[in-house]
């Protein structure tokens, strides 16, 4: 006789226990420390901070450890934690022009004041698996520091801007936008149409993979806007706050960020001379792929305000912003694992009824056919 299954609570507890054991892995292998993850898996840590919207490399490393390396799961942990933190105030805008540069390149000029500083990048490596890394060998040493300090690195786009060749950083909205308070998507619900500040916030937190695909689609012709990498810079900037009581800014620390300025095809119309347009990307740590993709998508989403035709997915504001958050996406996709047997039961009931009616109709039709046949037989016999 069927007995209803109970004991959901016990099952969950056992699942948690098994998860903890799996997370630790083989006991004989040394336990991964948070410090190791932070320093040796720094690019994963950077991604977790960027999408988690929280600058704390140690917490991000802890999240990666707890999540067994699943980046989206780690982002979830960081976001949920972020939510419990008290908020004091907004910082002053970061002055990326005064960044302590680690890496700075521009594809639009062969050379620029300050030079092309390659920094620690995978770009020129040959992607050959290095099996010597399987054994812990010597600790590699970086190059000797140069004798001359780095020259000042003025922003490439500012130089173009001085010639009037490119729109200002705030785009067409210019001075009006600079005065307006930016919104905050972590406090207020997003509504459409969204202003650029809101869009950029959503993109900064958005999933790197999704933005990469959207940015890629613009390059392949789905809303092509002829991008050039005007400048990409990675390094440390100071974070300043302006407490009312003091009346002057105070530095509260440094953070590592990566910033990308894309230069895109010129706009302009009958009342304005043609100029280059721009797209912008920003992320925590060294997150080049993310900020480049973000800049491409930012520019694509500006199609409406630049008077361009919007007919590709990357230009569709609602499409991009509704689907770029990987917490929303993974939550809803994985919710399909939750029990849906009541809804499914409803569908089963209807489908059975429809099938019954279908076969009844088919039977009646074939009956009529048979009867017709027999009638004509009778007639022919009569």
């Amino acid at each position: 006789m069927y007995v209803a299954v109970k004991g959901g609570e016990k099952a969950i507890d056992a699942a948690h226990q098994w998860l903890a054991e799996s997370r630790r892995g083989i006991p004989e292998t040394g336990e991964l420390s948070v410090a190791q993850i932070r320093s040796q898996l720094r690019l994963a840590v950077d991604r977790v901070m960027t999408e988690g919207s929280l600058y704390d490399p140690e917490l991000a490393a802890l999240a990666l450890k707890q999540a067994s390396g699943d980046v989206v799961e780690a982002v979830f942990l960081v976001r949920a934690y972020r939510n419990t933190l008290p908020r004091f105030l907004y910082s002053c805008p970061l002055d990326t022009g005064t960044m302590a540069i680690r890496r700075r390149i521009s594809a639009t000029y062969k050379d620029v004041p300050g030079g092309q500083v390659l920094g620690p990048t995978y770009d020129y490596t040959h992607r050959l698996l290095d099996f010597t890394l399987m054994a812990n060998g010597e600790t590699p040493r970086g190059p000797e520091p140069a004798e001359q300090p780095l020259e000042p690195c003025p922003r490439v786009l500012e130089m173009l801007n001085r010639e009037g060749m490119i729109e200002g950083p705030d785009g067409e909205t210019g001075a009006a936008a600079a005065d307006r308070e930016p919104g905050d998507i972590t406090r207020d619900p997003l509504s459409y149409p969204a202003s650029r500040d809101i869009r950029l916030q959503a993109l900064a937190r958005g999933d790197e993979g999704f933005l990469l695909a959207m940015g890629y689609s613009t390059q392949r012709g789905y809303g092509r806007n002829h991008p050039f990498a005007g400048e990409i810079r990675y390094g440390e900037v100071a974070v300043e706050i302006l407490p009312e009581e003091l009346g002057f800014p105070v530095v509260i620390g440094d953070i590592e960020i990566t910033e990308c300025d894309m230069i895109n095809q010129f706009g302009g119309n009958e009342t304005e001379a043609p100029r280059f347009t721009r797209g912008y990307g920003l992320g925590f740590g060294q997150s080049e792929r993310k900020v480049m993709a973000m800049a491409l998508v930012d520019r694509a989403l500006r199609a409406r305000e630049l008077g361009e035709e919007q007919d590709t997915p990357a230009q569709d504001e609602e499409f991009v912003l509704s689907h770029c958050d990987n917490l929303d996406a993974s939550g809803f996709v994985s919710h399909l694992k939750l029990p849906h047997y009541v809804d499914f039961q409803s569908e089963l009931v209807l489908l059975r009824q429809l099938r019954q009616e279908y076969y009844q109709k088919a039977d009646k039709a074939s009956e009529k056919h048979d009867n017709a046949g027999s009638v004509s037989r009778q007639e022919s016999e009569a």
Partner: protein, 296 residues
């Protein structure tokens, strides 16, 4: 137990019911607006909760906002108290709010539910909190938020009946069996969340307050007590609820929503009440003297 006592309990360093008071205030304002405009979707600044989006965060935020230390909470999923997610959510509130929890519908003051309305009729003073995945009933035909907002404002609901017409033309029946759209207070068309259409009539003139939370989509809406709620239909194809030929294997109920349970791989199946509390109450009434252990 008062609020201070509740907060001094070991709630793991979190505020009562996890959300900070500012957030609760913000959500309460949204709820008041929702109650004042029955069926209208109010946007709110939803927060990340420790459960994933899509797993009930909207319902949880509503519950966290309305629950107090003296409340008794019941949490069900698919009508059952012991499905994994219901347990997970109930534990969450037990830990962060220290409230009393129950599986008995009549004892609860706040009931959070996923995809069912309890069979036991609710009474005045109870709050039913629904978990909603997609709050927008027009989403199936219009993906754009800007357009659906306008359609609601102008009561342009022709497309809803187009869908029903199409079902009848194709299948001979209206083919929507859950998340069946309703008209609330003669104005807004609302998605009641993926409850089976079997449950729709329970929303009409319900003495309890019904609140709906969509965490991922960041919308809340409400049906105040004793509000008119009508399921959309045609005059010659009126709204009908599901019926079974069978009755519950355990309690014999012929008027409750039944789950189909496959018992062997030869197609053997039985039907049992989806609402576990309703079923248990009926069984206890029928055989009050029987030992607890032998009751399934």
């Amino acid at each position: 137990m008062n609020l201070q006592q509740a907060q001094s309990n070991d709630t793991g360093g979190y505020n009562f019911a996890y959300l900070d008071e500012q957030t609760k205030r913000m959500i309460r304002r949204g709820l008041l607006k929702a109650v004042a405009i029955p069926g209208y979707q109010v946007p709110f600044g939803g927060r990340e909760m420790p459960l994933p989006y899509g797993w009930g965060t909207g319902g949880m935020q509503v519950t966290a906002t309305v629950i107090g230390p003296d409340d008794t909470l019941k949490v069900i999923d698919q009508g059952a108290d012991d499905t994994t997610n219901a347990i997970s959510i109930r534990r969450f509130f037990a830990r962060t709010a220290g409230v009393k929890t129950t599986e008995v519908t009549t004892e609860a003051t706040v009931i959070q539910t996923r995809h069912r309305i309890p069979e036991t009729p609710l009474r005045s003073g109870q709050i039913l909190v629904y978990q909603v995945p997609i709050p927008e009933p027009l989403r199936f035909i219009e993906p754009r938020e800007v357009e659906t907002r306008t359609m609601h404002a102008l009561q342009e609901y022709g497309v809803m009946h187009v869908k029903l017409y199409e079902d009848i033309a194709r299948h001979g029946h209206i083919a929507t069996t859950y998340a069946y759209p309703v008209k609330v207070n003669g104005h807004y068309v609302m998605d009641p969340s993926p409850i089976p259409k079997f449950d729709n009539p329970k929303m009409d003139q319900c003495p309890a307050l019904q609140l709906f939370g969509a965490g991922r989509e960041k919308r809340i809406y409400a049906i105040p007590p004793y509000t008119r709620v009508r399921s959309l239909d045609f005059e010659d194809y009126p709204f009908e609820i599901q019926r079974w030929d069978e009755s519950c294997e355990f309690c014999g109920a012929a008027d409750s929503f039944l789950d189909e349970v496959i018992t062997d791989d030869q197609g053997g199946r039985i039907f049992v009440c989806s609402d576990t509390d309703y079923c248990r109450q009926r069984q206890q009434q029928q055989q009050p003297a029987v030992n607890e252990e032998t009751c399934p």
